[in-house]
């Protein structure tokens, strides 16, 4: 996982976008590309080797999130898991008699927001709940939005831009009382904080391997036993008929290994990362006037820091820092190329110009104090330089 050897000056602070696969993960994958290439559905020996790898990984994934192996469906990643959960539950539960209703929040990842928007065109009513200024949904507002025809509540575990943790357990209570299915996009929680499906109270939970040192293009949907859901992809009978298509065995094996390692090291890694994040935030607040840490007063995953540097644009900061060797993002990675300010920061009530002046620093286990020192040396200089250029004059 230490791939910074070619160039000593590359510092990766964008772990919410993706992470590099750990060495052990790559090793766990390699045999399944060629030597053990079988199709996990085949009865012969080759198939059995592949099947064993898939089932071992299923147990490892289940164990990371306190689930049973039979409650894990492999998918191509967080986006597909979100789609399967939302579309699959609505398809299973909707009746011709009345217009179905779904509750979600205005800070979800596009994989949830755009899926809900697409369902609106298919006759589903969707409520997009607001958040408070710290970026958290309130369970009371979820409760107030519930209608007799509400089929599904989908609220994420931790936000990808701010790291703010949502009150899942309280929302689960609302869902349970109403007999409503509850989906949690835990893509930014799994591997960053302990995530227990039972404690979260989710009926469905999305996770994605590449956010915690696993391979890209593989993820899982946890489906609590007894939850009504229909397949979205039609085809073969793989994954209990819920996800047709030949299993991506190497990626599944790597995903399992990433889960195993994460469960082992999470405590130590969290403490290290939290300490670095706190150093970064203290350093920024001390060295740069007129900045704000978004979501700072809320409970957050320990690796994420979202900063508004007023009077400059996040894109300019990000590109400047990139030339100096620091990789981080402005807005969310998916919003790059769009000039719209982050929908998450806007939902938190930030002024659009301030929202455009925001960057996200997301740390990982391999980051060091030296990297933080270098960053705290660079950022104030870059911010000052861009501010010199700004026609907007601040108080300071």
């Amino acid at each position: 996982m230490n791939d910074r050897d070619e160039k000593g000056t590359r510092v990766y602070f964008d772990h919410n976008a993706t992470t590099g696969a750990r060495r052990e993960v790559v090793e766990a994958m390699l045999p399944y590309f060629s030597r053990r290439f079988g199709n996990a559905s085949s009865l012969h020996l080759f198939g059995q080797e592949a099947r064993n790898a898939v089932e071992r990984a299923r147990s490892q994934v289940a164990s990371l999130i306190g689930a049973e192996p039979g409650e894990i469906i492999f998918t191509s990643g967080g986006t597909e898991s979100d789609n399967l959960a939302i579309r699959g539950v609505v398809a299973a539960k909707r009746t011709p008699a009345r217009r179905p209703h779904v509750i979600t929040s205005s800070i979800e990842h596009p994989a949830v927001i755009r899926t809900c928007r697409a369902l609106e065109k298919e006759g589903v009513d969707v409520t997009f709940l607001p958040v408070n200024s710290l970026g958290a949904v309130s369970a009371e507002e979820v409760e107030a939005a519930v209608r007799p025809e509400t089929l599904l509540i989908s609220v994420m575990l931790a936000n990808n831009e701010t790291g703010v943790i949502q009150p899942s357990a309280a929302i689960a209570g609302v869902a349970r009382r109403g007999g409503i299915a509850f989906h949690v996009d835990a893509v930014q929680g799994a591997g960053k904080i302990p995530v227990d499906a039972g404690a979260v109270g989710a009926d469905l939970m999305s996770i994605s391997a590449h956010k915690f040192y696993g391979p890209k293009g593989i993820g899982a949907l946890y489906i609590r036993r007894g939850t009504g859901i229909e397949a979205v992809l039609t085809g073969g009978h793989q994954e209990s008929g819920l996800r047709a298509g030949t299993e991506n065995v190497p990626a599944i094996a790597g995903f399992g290994e990433a889960c195993r390692i994460s469960a082992d090291r999470l405590g130590a890694e969290m403490a290290h990362i939290a300490r670095l994040r706190d150093r970064i935030e203290r350093g920024i607040l001390a060295a740069i006037p007129d900045v704000g840490i978004n979501g700072a007063g809320a409970e957050r995953v320990p690796n994420t820091c979202n900063v508004t540097v007023r009077r400059v644009e996040g894109e300019a900061l990000t590109l400047y820092l990139s030339v100096l060797g620091f990789a981080l993002s402005s807005g969310s990675a998916c919003a790059t190329g769009e000039t719209d300010p982050s929908h998450v920061l806007i939902a938190m009530g930030l002024d659009p110009v301030d929202a455009q002046g925001s960057i996200r620093i997301s740390l990982g286990a391999e980051n060091t104090d030296e990297e933080v020192d270098a960053f705290l040396d660079a950022l104030p200089r870059v911010a000052a330089r861009l501010r010199e250029m700004s026609p907007i004059r601040g108080k300071c």
Binding site: E313, G337, E338, P352
Partner: protein
């Protein structure tokens, strides 16, 4: 975004003519200070030519780079020549821009035109009546 051209980074990291002229002969702005890129251009006119030009920009990398390139294109030009500078010329001076950033070069063209127009309007007003 992919930038391959060194000229882009040169203008972005080391922009020319940053600042604001005190008592300028003309001031022009483009963009929107309340939401998004905002460019402010000030010029000094000497013997019918742009003697000095400075810019301030709150914007993305492309807005900053193209603003800088625009000031280099405009410096020393006659007012007519300055008014004829186009967004695509400005874009060319930074080696091209990705599709979604092309509008940034318009900012430079517009602010420069506004600054020259401001100069011409002031001169008109300042002139003693017939």
């Amino acid at each position: 975004m992919e930038f391959v051209d060194g000229r882009f980074f040169d203008h972005f990291m080391d922009p020319r003519n940053v600042g604001r002229i005190e008592d300028p002969d003309g001031t022009g702005a483009a963009g929107d200070p309340s939401c998004g890129d905002w460019l402010l251009v000030t010029i000094r006119v000497e013997r019918g030519k742009i003697g000095e030009i400075r810019f301030l920009c709150r914007g993305c990398s492309s807005a900053i780079a193209t603003s800088s390139a625009m000031t280099e294109l405009a410096a020393g030009k006659s007012l007519e020549e300055a008014l004829a500078i186009t967004a695509s010329e400005i874009e060319g001076a930074v080696g091209g821009l990705p599709e979604e950033k092309k509008h940034c070069s318009l900012l430079g063209e517009e602010a420069l035109k506004n600054a020259v127009a401001d100069y011409l309007a002031r001169r008109e007003k300042g002139r003693p009546g017939p």
